[in-house]
């Protein structure tokens, strides 16, 4: 009976993870998102302008690099970007297309490195959740064992469970709720790069 209560608690706790986490079915066990884990955003996926490999290093073009950093920053709202790109294009001179390509190449590199950090963070977070799930399982087992030895009632078992188990359950639950947002972040970054690339291409 006691074991059943403990098992029930454990199942209920882990049940919180199932609908929200949606662990990916591939062998990438550190990746908890339903969205597929993909590599860096490639230039070709978002850009049909000049080849970024043929227009020179973007950070050698100082003004382009300043603009790229500004556009890539999350603090710059999308609706301010048109004015910034227009101002740059107006002063860009004869090699305007190459210089706008520098801006795009800069944005892509900066956002991709940010995206790398986010992806690593998501994997770290997934490992933390797994450790916590193991701990919850062990705590539930421990309660079961203790109660069996002391032969306590189900009500007393529940009291005991309200300590460590309660806190772990809370952390686990909150993290599971946050997961859908965390998993969306790589897509949000991709969307931002695409939006900036589109704005730059309109001015080529």
């Amino acid at each position: 009976m006691v074991r059943l209560v403990a098992f029930g608690l454990c199942a209920a706790l882990l049940g919180f993870a199932a609908p929200t986490a949606g662990w990916a079915a591939d062998d990438d066990t550190d990746w908890p998102c339903p969205q597929q884990r993909t590599g860096a955003i490639s230039a070709a996926a978002v850009w049909s302008g000049p080849d970024i490999a043929k227009t020179g290093r973007w950070d050698d073009d100082e003004e382009a690099a300043v603009l790229a950093r500004k556009l890539a920053s999350r603090r710059t709202p999308l609706d301010e970007m048109d004015g910034l790109i227009d101002a740059f294009a107006a002063k860009a001179g004869a090699d305007k297309d190459d210089r706008l390509t520098h801006v795009f190449a800069g944005v892509l590199e900066i956002v991709n490195s940010e995206r790398d950090r986010v992806m690593a963070g998501v994997a770290r977070y997934a490992r933390g959740q797994k450790r916590l799930a193991d701990k919850i399982r062990a705590e539930a087992d421990k309660i079961g064992d203790e109660q069996e030895n002391k032969d306590l009632s189900p009500a007393q078992t529940l009291d005991l469970a309200k300590t460590d188990l309660k806190w772990d359950r809370r952390i686990f639950d909150e993290r599971a709720h946050a997961l859908s947002y965390v998993c969306e972040t790589p897509t949000l970054l991709e969307r931002r790069v695409f939006e900036i690339a589109r704005k730059i291409q309109e001015r080529l």
Partner: protein, 325 residues
Amino acid sequence: MRGVTISALLIGCAVCCAACPAAAYQVYVTNEKGNSVSVIDTEKLAVTKTIKVGRRPRGVLVSPDGKELYICASDDNGIQVVDTSSQKILRTLNSGPDPEQFALNPSGNPLYIANEDDSQVTVLDVEKNQIVARVPVGVEPEGMALSPDGNVLVNTSEVTSMAHFIDAHTFKLIDSVLVDRRPRVAVFSKDGSQLWVSSEIGGTVAVIDPKAHKIIKKIKFDVPGLTRQEIQPVGVRLTSDGKTAFIALGPANRVAVVDAQTFEVKKYLLVGLRVWHLALTPDEKLLFTTNGNSNDVSVIDVPALKVLKTIPVGLAPLGVVSSPN
């Protein structure tokens, strides 16, 4: 006198048509995660209305008279019928479980529905809301098409990688053609001489002779800088003159323009993130694309083969159809 009046009317009409280069159609877009349908006016090129519908709306069709819209509300296991003038949900049709894509008989009845979870095609009398037939097909049926003469129904099954040919009168399976992995969309050419089937994981489009049930040509796509895995064909549209095909390439974020006579890819147009489905306006001047990850729709100028505009819609746009008038 009468002749003069008619001539005047004709001239008047000609002047009017010259002044308005394109007729205004309504384009309907299902937002899979927004549980809504965005209505786009093709003259304004903007969303004029948003209709709340059932959960996870995917496939969308319009009746031949343009008065009713059919929407696969996949998570509600039904097809909702929406009055296009009042934007009210009139009724829910008995679609069978998890309807995803479907085809409508050109007469307006019946509806042929792919039931993804049930490995069957449901044939439904739209007026009586009665199931006429259930046809067992391959695993995870998806794409549906009816031949222009109304005699052959085609369904694609995602897991079994087949195009199934079904007699549209007896509902018996005639033949199946193996295509590349995960076939998603099937479209007949207007003259019925070709069937185009897109394979999402295979990364190809098979052009099939629907009489011989043989593949005539397999079209491959190559976008410089992109890996093969990033090219995932889904949506297919053909112009009625049989000269041009448009293929939506999913995470390649591009629409391929294919010469439908030589089967050569002429151009790739960058549209939006994860492009799913396509719709041509009846005058074939505009093509609309649903971009699932950028939450917008791109409008392509068909004669110029250029992207005209991007229109923000709801969350995760998927299905798209144009009104017939």
